[in-house]
C-alpha cells in the first residue's frame, strides 16, 4: 500500500496526529475537558467551512476559530455546571454556522463530508508539512510546560497551593488543545477528532500510574488506532474514522474491564 503517495502522506500525517492527540489527550482527561474538546471540534468544523467560504484553507479557518474560542472558554465562568451549559450552547451555534458557511460556498458536498468525517485521500504533501510543523509546536510547548502542567492537571488545588501560575498554564494548554483539534480533524474529521483526544488518555488511566507512562500508553493506543485504521481503510475501502473509533472504543472498554477485574482481585 505504500506504493501510493497518498497513503504515504496519510501515514506520515496520522503519525503526527496520533502523537499530539495521545499526548494532549492525557491532559484533556485529567483536566476533565473531554466535553470541551468535543465542542472545539464542532467549532473547528465551522472554522473549516468558513475557511472554504472566504477562500483560505480549511486548516487555517479551523485554527483561527478554535484558538479564539479556546481562549474565550478559558475566561468563562469556572462554575462547572454553568460552564457545561454555556459550552453546549456555543457548540450548537457553531454547528449551525458551519452548515451555513458550507451552503453559502460553492464547494461540493463531498468537501463537507471530508471535513466532517475525515478522509485518507484528501491530504496533500503541503498540508502534511503544515501538520508536522503544528504538531512539533504542540510537542515543544508540552516539553516546556511539562512539569507545572502535570502538577496543575493532576492536582489543580495542590498546584495553586504551591503558588503555580495556573491561569497561564490553562491558556497554554487550551492553545495546544485548539491546535490538536485542528491537526487531528484533517484525517479523522472534525466530528470524531475528540475520539483521539479523549479515549486513549482515558484508557491509559486504567492501566498505568505515572504521568510519563500515561503519555506513553496514550500515544501508543492512539498510534495503533490510526495505523490500523489506515490499513483497514485501505484494504476494505471503508471510512478510516470508523476503524479508528471502533479500535479506541474497544480499547477503552477493555481497559475499564481490566481495572474492574483488578479491583476485585
Amino acid at each position: 500500500m505504500f506504493e501510493y503517495e497518498f497513503m504515504r502522506e496519510a501515514f506520515i500525517a496520522s503519525t503526527f496526529i496520533a502523537i499530539t492527540a495521545g499526548l494532549v489527550g492525557v491532559f484533556v482527561v485529567s483536566r476533565n475537558m473531554s466535553f470541551l474538546s468535543h465542542t472545539l471540534s464542532e467549532i473547528g468544523f465551522a472554522g473549516a467551512s468558513f475557511g472554504i467560504l472566504v477562500g483560505i484553507s480549511p486548516l487555517a479557518g479551523m485554527i483561527i476559530f478554535t484558538l479564539i474560542s479556546s481562549v474565550a472558554v478559558g475566561s468563562l465562568s469556572s462554575e462547572s455546571s454553568r460552564r457545561e451549559a454555556s459550552i453546549s450552547a456555543i457548540s450548537s451555534l457553531f454547528i449551525g454556522l458551519g452548515i451555513l458557511f458550507l451552503s453559502l460556498s460553492s464547494e461540493s458536498s463531498s468537501y463537507a463530508t471530508n471535513i466532517l468525517f475525515g478522509s485518507i485521500v484528501g491530504i496533500s504533501s503541503k498540508e502534511v508539512n503544515q501538520l508536522m510543523i503544528l504538531a512539533l509546536f504542540v510537542i515543544f510547548v508540552f516539553i516546556i510546560f511539562y512539569k507545572p502542567l502535570s502538577f496543575d492537571s493532576f492536582d489543580h488545588i495542590g498546584a495553586r497551593a504551591a503558588g503555580l501560575k495556573t491561569r497561564l498554564l490553562s491558556v497554554a494548554f487550551l492553545v495546544t488543545l485548539a491546535l490538536s483539534v485542528s491537526i487531528g480533524a484533517q484525517i479523522v474529521g472534525s466530528l470524531l477528532v475528540f475520539v483521539l483526544l479523549t479515549l486513549p488518555g482515558a484508557t491509559a488511566k486504567y492501566l498505568v500510574h505515572s504521568v510519563p507512562k500515561l503519555i506513553m500508553v496514550s500515544v501508543g493506543l492512539s498510534l495503533a488506532g490510526v495505523w490500523l485504521g489506515l490499513y483497514l481503510a485501505f484494504v476494505t475501502n471503508w471510512p478510516v474514522t470508523f476503524f479508528i473509533s471502533a479500535f479506541e472504543v474497544i480499547a477503552y472498554f477493555l481497559g475499564l474491564s481490566y481495572k474492574n477485574w483488578k479491583l476485585n482481585h
Binding site: 512539569k147 493532576f154 495542590g158 497551593a161 503558588g163 488511566k205 486504567y206
Partner: protein, 208 residues
C-alpha cells in the same frame, strides 16, 4: 471580608490552631498569609524567606485517579534534566515518604487509598519544598479518631524534631487541646488568643 482586632504573631516552631465556627474567616486569613488574597488595610508581615507548605482542605481525587502515591507526591518536584539533581530528587522523595510513613504504600493508586493515607500523601507533597511553615486546612476533618491521632502524631513529630511551624485550622477541640500549644479563636471576624486549656466545644458553634 473584614477582620477586626487582628493582632497576633506566629513564631518559629509554634504549633498553633485557628479555631472558630464556619465562615468566621479562618481560611481567608490563611490565604492572606500565603498572598493568595489581598487585604485592604493593616500590616501583614510574612517573612518570605520562610517557605510555606499549604495542605488544602478539598481535593477531587476519585477512585479512577490515575497516579499512585509516589507519583502524586512527585508532582511538586521542579523540572530538571541534570542527572545529579534527579538523583537528589529521588533521595528527597524517599526521605519524605519515609518520614510520612508512606514507603510501603508508595505504589498504591491514590484513588484507592484510605482517607488517612490520602492526607499523608497531601502532607508529603507539601513537605517536598522543605517548608518552614506548614498550614493544615481541616486536614483531619473526615477521618476516624484513630487515623486523626496518627496524622497529628506525625505532624507533632515534625514540629518537634524539625522545628516546623504548624498552623492548624480545625473544628476539632480535642485535637486542639491535645496537640497545639496556642489557639487563635475567630468569631465574627474578630480574633482573640485563648489558652489552649480553655478551648471548649461550644467555641465552634457560636456565631458564624
Amino acid at each position: 471580608m473584614v477582620f477586626q482586632n487582628l493582632n497576633f504573631q506566629i513564631n518559629d516552631g509554634d504549633f498553633i490552631s485557628l479555631i472558630g465556627p464556619n465562615g468566621s474567616g479562618k481560611t481567608t486569613l490563611v490565604k492572606m498569609i500565603m498572598g493568595l488574597e489581598k487585604k485592604s488595610s493593616g500590616d501583614l508581615i510574612v517573612d518570605h524567606k520562610q517557605t510555606i507548605g499549604y495542605v488544602p482542605q478539598f481535593r477531587n481525587i476519585d477512585i479512577d485517579y490515575p497516579l499512585n502515591i509516589e507519583q502524586f507526591v512527585r508532582l511538586n518536584l521542579k523540572f530538571t534534566l541534570s542527572p545529579k539533581k534527579r538523583q537528589s530528587d529521588n533521595q528527597l522523595i524517599k526521605r519524605i515518604l519515609e518520614k510520612t510513613g508512606l514507603t510501603a504504600l508508595k505504589d498504591r493508586p491514590l484513588g484507592l487509598a484510605s482517607g488517612g493515607e490520602k492526607q499523608k500523601a497531601y502532607l508529603a507533597q507539601a513537605l517536598l519544598n522543605d517548608p518552614k511553615v506548614l498550614i493544615l486546612d481541616e486536614s483531619t476533618a473526615s477521618l476516624d479518631v484513630e487515623v486523626k491521632m496518627q496524622l497529628m502524631d506525625l505532624v507533632a513529630e515534625l514540629n518537634q524534631n524539625e522545628k516546623l511551624t504548624v498552623i492548624f485550622i480545625t473544628h476539632d477541640y480535642e485535637l486542639t487541646k491535645k496537640y497545639t500549644h496556642r489557639a487563635l479563636f475567630f468569631r465574627d471576624h474578630e480574633l482573640q488568643e485563648v489558652d489552649v486549656k480553655d478551648v471548649s466545644e461550644d467555641m465552634f458553634e457560636m456565631g458564624g
